[in-house]
């Protein structure tokens, strides 16, 4: 698992990052570097700032203090940098957020055509390839509403991959799914991890974390309170709140 990681290249770097919603201090000085090819699982209590953290990586949320650098590009108010980062970072949401007025194939080929300026032919080829990869090539001409939750989330993953990102973000990708559909989505994510993709995954699927993650990061009240390999975190957590939280969810 660790062979694919390039320890010399910090593709994501947070230096003392702070964020406020009004007076509410959501991120209280986040420091973390993530290596190229690394799979990081973020967990912690609800409201601890996990979503906010992951959304600052592609600037769906703006940070107010500190420095965020993604693949050498610093996130500032500079729109060019923001565009450049968003082209390299894919994101999968808890609620899928597929475009309901477009077919599955068009959902996937839209961004490559409009942002990367690929021809329709090329974009269609890529989207069919990706649908094959996530195991639903027979659904290309359907609309999202005609698919099951698990299938929709797999389309959402394919849609992000079509932009050929270097980093994939997942914000609780299986929380909105019926239990029997969780596995099909996690399987796709596992395959992606083993292909060498850098991934930041907010999830409470601890089986997935144990099997796939290179590192686990525990958030609490806007801080990273503990981080380490799955063995360290599961067998021998140091922080009391990590212990308490794990005992509640395991």
């Amino acid at each position: 698992m660790s062979s694919k990681i390039d320890k010399n290249y910090h593709i994501i770097s947070f230096e003392d990052v702070h964020k406020w919603f009004g007076n509410f201090h959501v991120l209280k000085g986040i420091n973390i570097t993530i290596d190229k090819g690394e799979v990081v699982v973020v967990f912690g209590p609800s409201g601890s700032g996990k979503s906010t953290f992951i959304r600052t990586i592609n600037r769906l949320e703006e940070h107010q203090n500190g420095k965020i650098t993604i693949d050498g590009i610093e996130l500032t108010t500079d729109l060019k940098n923001i565009d450049a980062v968003r082209r390299e970072v894919g994101m999968v949401f808890q609620s899928f957020n597929l475009f309901p007025h477009l077919t599955v194939r068009d959902n996937i080929s839209l961004a490559p055509m409009k942002v990367r300026k690929w021809s329709r032919k090329e974009a269609t080829r890529i989207s069919d390839e990706l649908l094959e990869r996530v195991g639903i090539s027979d659904q290309a001409d359907k609309y999202p509403a005609q698919l099951s939750g698990g299938q929709q989330q797999r389309v959402a993953i394919a849609r992000s991959l079509a932009m050929q990102p270097k980093i994939m973000l997942f914000d609780e990708p299986t929380s909105a799914l019926d239990p029997e559909m969780i596995k099909e989505v996690l399987d796709v994510m596992k395959e992606l991890a083993s292909s060498g993709m850098t991934m930041v995954v907010v999830t409470h699927e601890m089986g997935f974390a144990r099997e796939v993650a290179d590192r686990l990061v525990m958030f609490d009240e806007g801080n990273i309170v503990e981080s380490g390999s799955p063995e360290e975190i599961f067998e021998n957590p140091k922080n009391d709140r990590t212990k308490l939280f794990l005992s509640q969810i395991l």
Binding site: M91, N97, Y143, S160
Partner: protein, 401 residues
């Protein structure tokens, strides 16, 4: 033995019987309501039928059909109107094969009255042979287009371009070109009747729809100036009746336009209708925009789509489709509101009706007939619009997402 025919009559009568039972006599209260309303409805039906067929005199309309249709448009230039109608029905025929039934139903709505007018014998319908032949020619336009579409299906994109082009050609044909002998200029002041009503409505819709979208987007802008300007515009226009706006544009527009520019009476009426309808359209579109979840914008952003692409490709299509009924409702009221231009001296369908009744002593007691006819024409078109909107809504699957 029961013959096949008897069996089918039997099944029809039972189904009528069932319908009546379920819909009119399903509960004691329903029985009571049916018994009270039925004689009244029956009386209304019989007496209005009697009036339409026996008592009413329709020659105010049949003798003036041309004026009701096109107003004072010069008689020597009639072929131009015929050509425009021909192009339109022809395109309808060519579009027959398009997905969904919208174009098929639209064609029927237009063809059925046309063909019935041609076929009703002169003793019952006293209109000129010339007009009948024009109607026949226009119907042929449809048939030609239909045959063409059997021969070769044109793509949606080609058809969209054709329709847009035809609008421009129609306008040039109708208006003519100054100093060009073959197409002498016909001032829009001479356009009238149904032609003017259509012209006002179609141009009004084509301008107020995009205006409404821009205003609605402007109202959501982060720039305080843009937002403020849109809010003030929308709210002040909505606070004023259309009639007032019509008078205001009549007087104010010439003052605002630079020296040498002029906008004729019809142009000024269109300006008033457009800004009035645009303000209401903006509020409908705003409702649609609010109905699109933020997750859609976030997903688009995360894929690297910029604000312009996100709005045009992701947010607007969903927003508009969520408020189709409100948008079509606005189109329908715009269509009806065109009749207010009578007040600023234009002779649309209603204006012509008024002029015919008041201008001829012989028609003075056919006032009721004239207005019933105008009402029927308006009803046919507004009903068609809401009918087509329902088809579009259903084909887009609004509500089942």
């Amino acid at each position: 033995m029961i013959t096949e025919q008897e069996r089918s009559i039997f099944s029809i009568t039972t189904s009528i019987y069932n319908w009546v039972r379920e819909n009119l006599f399903s509960s004691p209260l329903n029985v009571l309501i049916t018994l009270c309303v039925f004689p009244f409805a029956f009386y209304l039906f019989i007496s209005s039928g009697d009036w339409i067929l026996n008592k009413a005199e329709w020659d105010a309309i049949t003798r003036n059909t041309r004026i009701f249709l096109i107003g004072q448009y010069p008689q020597s230039e009639l072929w131009r109107i015929g050509t425009v109608a021909f192009i339109t029905t022809n395109l309808l025929g060519i579009s027959w094969h398009l997905k969904g039934v919208v174009f098929q139903r639209l064609s029927l709505i237009i063809l059925v009255p046309l063909i019935s007018v041609i076929l009703i014998p002169p003793i019952f319908l006293d209109i000129s042979i010339g007009l009948r032949s024009w109607f026949a020619l226009v119907s042929m336009g449809f048939l030609l287009g239909y045959l063409l579409s059997k021969f070769q299906n044109l793509s949606t994109r080609v058809l969209l371009v054709s329709w847009s082009l035809s609008m421009i050609i129609d306008f040039i044909l109708l208006r003519g070109i100054e100093g060009f002998g073959a197409l002498p200029y016909v001032s829009t002041n001479e356009w009238g009747g149904l032609l003017l009503t259509f012209f006002l409505a179609i141009i009004g819709i084509m301008l107020s729809f995009p205006l409404g979208i821009f205003l609605a987007l402007g109202r959501r802008s982060n720039l305080p100036f843009v937002k403020g300007a849109c809010v003030i515009f929308i709210e002040s226009i909505r606070a004023v009746p259309l009639v007032t706006l019509l008078f205001m544009t009549l007087i104010i527009v010439p003052l605002l336009l630079p020296e040498g520019w002029r906008l004729d009476r019809v142009g000024r009426a269109i300006a008033a209708i457009t800004i009035f309808s645009g303000a209401y359209m903006a509020e409908n579109v705003r409702g649609g925009l609010a109905s699109v979840p933020v997750g859609q914008t976030e997903a688009a952003k995360a894929l690297g789509l910029g604000p312009l692409l996100t709005t045009t490709l992701i947010v607007l299509p969903q927003a508009l489709r969520n408020v189709i009924p409100a948008i079509v409702g606005q189109f329908i009221s715009l269509f009806k509101d065109t009749s207010l231009v009578v007040i600023v001296g234009l002779l649309d369908l209603v204006g012509i009706g008024k002029a015919v009744v008041l201008g001829n002593v012989e028609y003075i007691d056919q006032q009721a007939e004239v207005y019933v006819f105008i009402a029927a024409v308006f009803w046919v078109f507004t009903f068609s619009m809401s009918y087509v909107s329902q088809i579009i809504e259903r084909s887009l699957g609004v509500g089942d997402r």
